[in-house]
C-alpha cells in the first residue's frame, strides 16, 4: 500500500463515517469518485458487506455522538432551549456543514454561532428563536474566556503611589480573558433564565453590549452601556491611557466630571480584576472586540 493508497483509504473511511446516511448506500454513492469503495467487504475484513457496514457503523455512531456531545457541552443553554431532539438535528446539520478542522475538539464549536445565524437568515426548517445566535455568541465567548491566557492583574494597590498628574499617563488594557460582544438582542436575561431553569421570555430586541471576562477561575458577564462600552472597547483593542479614557467620558460633560466618571468605572474594573498594565509603548494587538449584529 503506497502513500497515495493510504491517503485514499483514510479519505474513504472518514467520508463514510462522517455522513449521516446508511453506510452501504453512502458507499455506493462514493463508487463513482472512488472505485472499489462500494463493496465494503472487499477492503474491510468481514464476511459480507452487511457485516462490514455494521462494523464501520460503530465508528460512524461514535463520530456523531462525540461531536454532538461536545457541542452540547459548549452550548448547554442553546441545547436546553431547543430540547434534545431539535438540538440533535441542528447539531447533525452543523457537523456536515462544518467538519472539524482543528486537532483539538476545543475548537469544533467555534463556527456554531455563525451557523445558527445563517440558519436564521435562511429561514431553514429549524424553528429557531431570533435571539438564539446571540445566545450562542455569549456561550462561545464564555468558553474563549475560560481558558484564555493568564495576565498580571492590576490591583488598587498599584495605583496608591501614583500622583494625580501621573494618572493621565497610566497605561491600561483589558486582560486577555475579556471579550466585548455587540449583539442584536438582550440575551443576558435569556441566559439567566435558561441557566436558572426558568421559562425564557420572548426575544427582546437590543442592541446590547456584553462584557465577558474571567476572574480567578470563574467566568462572568454583564451588560454595559454607552460610555463604559466605548471605554472597554478601547481597553480591549490595544489598551489606552487613563487620560484618553477620560476623553471618552467627556463626550457630553466637562473633563472634570468625565474624570470622576472614569475613575468610578476604573474602580469597578479593578474590583472585577479585568485590567492589566499596558506596555509603555502602546502597541497594536489583536482586537478582542467582537461585533455580532442580528437584525
Amino acid at each position: 500500500m503506497t502513500a497515495p493508497q493510504l491517503a485514499r483509504l483514510q479519505r474513504r473511511f472518514l467520508t463514510l463515517i462522517a455522513q449521516p446516511d446508511p453506510l452501504q448506500q453512502a458507499a455506493s454513492a462514493l463508487e463513482r469518485d472512488d472505485p472499489g469503495a462500494a463493496r465494503l467487504s472487499s477492503w474491510l475484513k468481514a464476511d459480507s458487506d452487511e457485516t462490514a457496514a455494521a462494523r464501520l457503523g460503530i465508528y460512524a455512531h461514535m463520530y456523531f455522538a462525540r461531536l454532538h456531545d461536545s457541542l452540547r457541552e459548549d452550548f448547554p443553554l442553546c441545547a436546553r432551549l431547543l430540547g434534545p431532539e431539535a438540538f440533535q438535528r441542528l447539531a447533525a446539520r452543523y457537523l456536515v456543514r462544518h467538519p472539524s478542522d482543528h486537532p483539538s475538539l476545543r475548537y469544533h464549536g467555534r463556527h456554531f454561532p455563525g451557523f445558527v445565524r445563517q440558519c436564521l437568515l435562511e429561514n431553514s426548517e429549524f424553528e429557531l428563536r431570533a435571539d438564539l445566535a446571540d445566545l450562542c455568541d455569549l456561550e462561545w465567548a464564555r468558553i474563549e474566556v475560560f481558558d484564555a491566557a493568564e495576565a498580571v492583574v492590576m490591583g488598587t494597590g498599584q495605583l496608591a503611589d501614583l500622583r494625580p498628574l501621573q494618572f493621565a499617563d497610566l497605561r491600561l488594557r483589558a486582560i486577555s480573558a475579556t471579550r466585548i460582544l455587540e449583539l442584536g438582542f438582550t440575551v443576558d436575561s435569556l441566559w439567566s433564565a435558561c441557566d436558572g431553569d426558568q421559562p425564557p421570555s420572548p426575544p427582546n430586541e437590543g442592541p446590547q453590549t456584553l462584557l465577558v471576562w474571567r476572574r480567578g477561575f470563574r467566568v462572568y458577564h454583564r451588560a454595559v452601556t454607552g460610555e463604559e462600552a466605548c471605554a472597554l472597547k478601547a481597553l480591549c483593542s490595544e489598551g489606552t491611557r487613563f487620560g484618553d479614557l477620560c476623553e471618552i467620558f467627556a463626550a457630553d460633560c466637562s473633563l472634570d466630571l468625565a474624570a470622576e466618571r472614569a475613575a468610578r468605572h476604573l474602580g469597578q474594573w479593578l474590583a472585577d480584576e479585568l485590567l492589566t498594565r499596558a506596555p509603555d509603548e502602546l502597541r497594536a494587538r489583536k482586537s478582542n472586540v467582537v461585533v455580532r449584529a442580528s437584525f
Binding site: M1, A3, Q10, W43, L67, H108, D147, A148, E150
Partner: protein, 275 residues
C-alpha cells in the same frame, strides 16, 4: 532503547476531580497522566490544576490527536503547542496512539485503525522519527481498540509494534483493555498478543473498563476494570516485570478514592505476581 522510570500506579487527571485536587493537592496518587490537548490553552483552571498536581507528583502527557498514522502531514502548530506544554510540565514522558484521526484536514476526533502493511510501517516509522526529532525525545505509542480490520493488513498488530519500536526507538504504551477489546472484536488470542511483544519496549501499561454490546465490545472507559483485563494484567506483569501502570476512567467518573482503589488494586496485583 526506550528507558523510562517506574512511577508506580497512577490515574488519569480528569475534570471531575479538579476542585478536590486544587484544594488538597495530589494526596495518595503515585502519578497523573494528563491528556495533552486539554492543556494546550494558555490559562484558566485546567492549567492551574495541572501546575498544582505537578508540584506534588510526576505527570505524563498523553496525546489523542497527533495522528502518527495519518496520511495528512503532522501539524507544526500542534507540535509547537505540545513543545510549549512539555516545557511547562516537564513530563516523565509523553505518549500518543498508533492510529490516524484526520484526512485532508478533516478531524474525526477518534482513534482510527491503520492497515498493518510494510508500507504503513515505513510511513509510521518515518513520522515517529520526525516527531521524536522535533520534540527532542522518544515517545510512547499506545495500541488502540479496534472494531474493524483492513483486508490489506498482512502483519499482526503485535509484530507491527515490535518492528516499529525496534526501528524508531519509540516505546510501547500497552493498553491491556484495548488488547482484550480488540481481540474479542477481531478474533485473536489476547494472551498470545502480550507474550509476543518484546518486553524491553513496554514503558507503560493502561487499564480501563469496557462495555459489552450484543455484537461487539466497546472501549468505553466506564466502570471498574473488568476481571478479564485484570487477568491479562497479571500476565503482562509476569511477562514485562514492573511497569508504570495507569487506570483510565472517563465516563461516569466516580469520586477520587474510587479511582484510586483501582490503582491500589493494580499495585497489589503487581506485588503478588512479582513476589
Amino acid at each position: 532503547m526506550f528507558d523510562v522510570p517506574h512511577l508506580g500506579h497512577g490515574i488519569g487527571l480528569r475534570p471531575t476531580h479538579y476542585a478536590e485536587l486544587l484544594k488538597h493537592g495530589a494526596r495518595g496518587v503515585d502519578w497523573f497522566e494528563a491528556i495533552s490537548e486539554n492543556f494546550f490553552e494558555d490559562g484558566g483552571r485546567p492549567l492551574a490544576v495541572l501546575d498544582r498536581v505537578r508540584l506534588d507528583v510526576p505527570v505524563v502527557l498523553h496525546g489523542v490527536a497527533l495522528g502518527i498514522g495519518s496520511a495528512d502531514p503532522i501539524s507544526d502548530e500542534y507540535l509547537g503547542r505540545l513543545r510549549r506544554l512539555i516545557a511547562r510540565v516537564d513530563p516523565a514522558w509523553i505518549s500518543d496512539h498508533l492510529c490516524w484521526g484526520s484526512s485532508d484536514g478533516h478531524y474525526s476526533h477518534d482513534l482510527l485503525p491503520i492497515p498493518y502493511t510494510d508500507e504503513a510501517l515505513d510511513h509510521v516509522a518515518t513520522r515517529v522519527c520526525e516527531v521524536q526529532d522535533k520534540l527532542g525525545r522518544p515517545i510512547l505509542l499506545e495500541n488502540i481498540s479496534a472494531y474493524v480490520a483492513f483486508r490489506d493488513s498482512a502483519i499482526p498488530e503485535w509484530e507491527f509494534l515490535n518492528e516499529l519500536t525496534a526501528h524508531t526507538g519509540c516505546g510501547l504504551l500497552l493498553d491491556v483493555n484495548n488488547v482484550y477489546v480488540t481481540s474479542q472484536n477481531l478474533g485473536f488470542d489476547p494472551e498470545a498478543y502480550i507474550r509476543s511483544l518484546r518486553s524491553s519496549s513496554v514503558g507503560q501499561i493502561h487499564l480501563a473498563g469496557h462495555t459489552r454490546q450484543p455484537e461487539f465490545i466497546l472501549d468505553s472507559h466506564v466502570g471498574p476494570v473488568p476481571g478479564q483485563v485484570w487477568d491479562l494484567y497479571r500476565l503482562a506483569v509476569r511477562h514485562f516485570g514492573r511497569v508504570s501502570t495507569l487506570v483510565e476512567w472517563d465516563e461516569a467518573v466516580p469520586a477520587l478514592p474510587v479511582v484510586l482503589n483501582e490503582a491500589a488494586r493494580a499495585r497489589r496485583i503487581e506485588s503478588e505476581v512479582l513476589s
